[in-house]
């Protein structure tokens, strides 16, 4: 009996405490936020094997600086974005994230790049209830695990941004099954979770046609040449090549295929479909016409006439002039960074006058907005109301095909694809 009373009292006290904090609102602000500033940070591979993604954080920073200067920040708070270099290794991500959270007292972790780095700290950020926002990786965990137990617990403080990898490769599978039902498919994928997820999605999309896969070869991140794998695919009689890799090996694969006198119909994943990389492959001799991929962000070149894209160039010129040359040659990673930063600013605006970490997550869990940096028609949408469990901000993509060889560009075709998760 006594125990029961105690429990009731305790429960009441807890409710009262929660109500009190809710009512007092800004009495005790969360770390990283003051009247005039909000500090956020992320870990990115500025050096090492994945460092070609470093334009992403630089673009994000440029956008925040632009918002700070032209709009005085968000609700009068200037955004201070800290970039840490983890060289893509979890043993660096962990101490650097601790440094961001405990020493630099960031309000949220924004945009940290890579699946293994993200996995290495998501228990930590969720235990401490630090928002781990817009991880730059397309694994499904970030979307599903807000409401599902993963790795020991639910991860409601984590959210991704881009469309999910297996969902994307399912589209290639469907497309191949529908348009070239007799294709002999050779798959070349990176021998890690990233490549394997893509491969699994492809098989799912192919459905009954997955028996058309005549060979699947893997390659290692340390590969010095892909000739052996490409030759193996060719020797098995494949006429369609699907490549799931990071940009450098994908370019190498395109070049090597041409070099060994093989010209299959080629599909590459979105991550590697940056115009810069295709131009490079073409320059190195690859036959890139007809390569198929997908995109969800606007391209600085394809969408050059677009108002937001025109304006973006101005932003970069002022706040990150070093990025302008690669912007002009069509680096869609920069659009990606701008898009992420835009979405963060949007969420922050919707997190209340005095945002807390919890109110930021609430805002992130009910986004419904367009984004000037996304391909026209694609919306950012999450929904945690009424039993909905949608924690995937972007679920749409569009097919693109390359034309014009070494001076060419992507051409979007077909309808917007939905349900990518």
């Amino acid at each position: 009996m006594k125990r029961k009373v105690l429990a009731v009292v305790a429960a009441a006290a807890a409710v009262a405490a929660v109500a009190a904090t809710a009512a007092s609102g800004a009495v005790k602000a969360d770390p990283g936020i003051t009247k005039s500033s909000i500090t956020i940070g992320g870990t990115f591979p500025l050096t090492g094997p994945a460092s070609l993604y470093k334009t992403i954080p630089l673009a994000e920073k440029a956008y925040f600086d632009y918002v700070n200067d032209t709009q005085g920040g968000v609700n009068g708070r200037k955004i201070n974005f800290l970039i840490k270099d983890d060289a893509y290794s979890p043993s660096n991500t962990v101490p650097l994230t601790q440094e961001l959270v405990e020493r630099d007292k960031v309000f949220a972790i924004l945009g940290s790049l890579g699946t293994a780095p993200g996995l290495s700290v998501w228990n930590y950020t969720n235990q401490r209830k630090v928002p781990q926002v817009f991880l730059a990786t397309g694994d499904s965990f970030w979307g599903f695990c807000a409401t599902k137990v993963c790795d020991g617990s639910k991860k409601p403080w984590t959210i991704g941004w881009q469309p999910d990898y297996p969902g994307e490769s399912r589209q290639y599978g469907k497309y191949i099954a529908a348009n070239t039902p007799n294709a002999k498919i050779g798959v070349l994928y990176q021998n890690d979770a990233y490549g394997k997820n893509y491969y699994a999605g492809l098989r799912l999309g192919l459905g009954a046609k997955k028996s058309n896969i005549v060979d699947a070869e893997t390659f290692d991140a340390t590969a010095t040449s892909l000739a052996q794998q490409i030759l193996a695919l060719k020797s098995k009689g494949a006429d369609t090549m699907v490549v799931f890799g990071t940009p450098t090996p994908t370019i190498t694969a395109l070049v090597t295929a041409t070099k060994v006198g093989w010209s299959p119909t080629t599909y590459i994943n979105n991550v590697s479909a940056n115009r810069l990389f295709l131009l490079a492959a073409a320059k190195a001799g690859a036959n890139v016409d007809g390569v198929v991929s997908t995109t969800y962000v606007k391209s600085p070149t394809v969408n050059a006439g677009d108002k937001a894209i025109k304006q973006a160039r101005g932003i970069l010129q002022t706040y990150a002039p070093a990025l302008v040359p690669s912007w002009d040659s069509g680096d869609s990673n920069i659009t990606y960074g701008l898009g992420v930063a835009y979405t963060f600013v949007y969420a922050l605006k919707h997190a209340g006058k005095n945002p807390t970490r919890a109110s930021l997550m609430n805002a992130l869990h009910e986004m419904n907005t367009s984004n000037p940096y996304l391909y026209p028609g694609i919306r950012i949408f999450t929904d945690f109301h009424k039993g909905h469990r949608d924690n995937f901000p972007i679920e749409q993509e569009i097919f693109i095909k390359w034309a014009g060889g070494a001076t060419g560009d992507w051409k979007p075709f077909g309808k917007l694809l939905g349900g990518i998760r």
């Binding site: 500025l46 962990v94 930590y124």
Partner: protein, 321 residues
């Protein structure tokens, strides 16, 4: 008690005092950093037993750390083994692995041994990728529970203390004499009755066991997350750098070596020398080279030169002896 021993005990007591006091004063973030330094301390201690005292070079200790780390992660993940219990387990597994490497290594010396151990450093971290079904591959694998920084700081430094005492006891006795005689001259050691195969293999085993414990703890400070990239070649090289900075053949210098590799990257990131984050590598590389050129016997050698009682400035040269 000799005067030397008293001084040494005094130094150790002061060091232990500092570690304990820091344990209460440091912020959570710095406790994590402190735990890492303890881990480097243990690993460098192990490497020093092999390279500094027995004269057998190893550029492969990251591989033993990987084995130890994965032992902890796998046992905790699949059997929910208590994290503390996985430490002796990692120790035992790595001791056996060390012996297994030590036996073929008997045939090698100098650069050849360096290359063979380097091969281990490169190859072992690739294996979890091959057997990704039960190691998690590139997505890594996590221990069932992951401790906080306070726990880590204490456990890591207690382990470091035990490791130090164990190393000291081992090296001051018969075994230590045998190790040193092998380093100074294998021929002379053999002719005075020291069994080269037994002691060289033993040195490998002990050294690997230290690295194994360090690897276990290394996984624990990485939020209990084991992933192949953590145990890359760079880790092995860092340990060797730490041992050399410490001064090969000096137990006391080890702490300086651990501080060096644990803190230098932290410090050099904030050097505004060239900005843009790459100053770190430039500064780290430069300091490594300068230390090697200017301090032939590491920090311990420097101290030894200053204080002649500090008789640890031993030339360690496994090849040309």
């Amino acid at each position: 008690m000799s005067r030397g021993l008293v001084t040494r005990l005094g130094v150790i007591a002061v060091a232990a005092g500092i570690v304990i006091v820091l344990g209460f004063r440091l912020s959570d973030y710095h406790l994590g950093l402190g735990a890492r330094i303890a881990i480097y301390f243990i690993a460098i201690l192990g490497l020093n037993i092999l390279t500094g005292y027995t004269g057998q070079i190893s550029i492969g200790h990251g591989a033993f750390m990987a084995i130890g780390g994965y032992t902890t992660a796998l046992m905790s993940y699949y059997h929910h083994t208590d994290l503390l219990l996985t430490l002796p387990l990692a120790l035992a597994v790595c001791f056996v692995c060390g012996l297994a490497v030590g036996i073929p290594a008997l045939r090698l010396s100098g650069v050849y041994l360096a290359l063979a151990t380097f091969a281990l450093a490169v190859s072992i971290p690739q294996l979890p990728l091959k057997w990704s079904k039960w190691t998690g591959g590139s997505n890594g694998i996590r221990t069932f529970t992951s401790p906080g920084n306070n726990w880590l700081y204490r456990v890591c430094w207690i382990c470091a203390g035990i490791a130090f005492v164990a190393a000291w006891l081992l090296l001051r006795g018969r075994t230590g004499r045998a190790f040193r005689s092998i380093r100074d001259s294998e021929l002379a050691a053999a002719s005075s009755g020291v069994s080269l195969p037994i002691y060289k293999t033993l040195a490998f085993g002990v050294s690997a066991a230290f690295a194994g414990v360090a690897g276990s703890l290394f996984v624990l400070v990485t939020n209990g997350y084991a992933q192949p990239n953590e145990f890359g070649v760079l880790l092995s090289l860092q340990l060797l750098i730490g041992a050399a900075v410490a001064g090969l053949g000096s137990l006391y210098g080890t702490i300086v070596g651990a501080l060096f590799i644990g803190l230098l990257p932290q410090i050099s990131t904030s050097v505004p020398l060239i900005g843009s984050g790459h100053g770190q590598d430039v500064v780290f590389g430069l300091i490594v080279i300068l230390v090697m050129i200017l301090l032939p016997n590491g920090v311990a050698g420097l101290l030894g030169a200053i204080d002649s009682r500090f008789k640890s400035a031993i030339k360690s040269d496994p090849t040309t002896s």
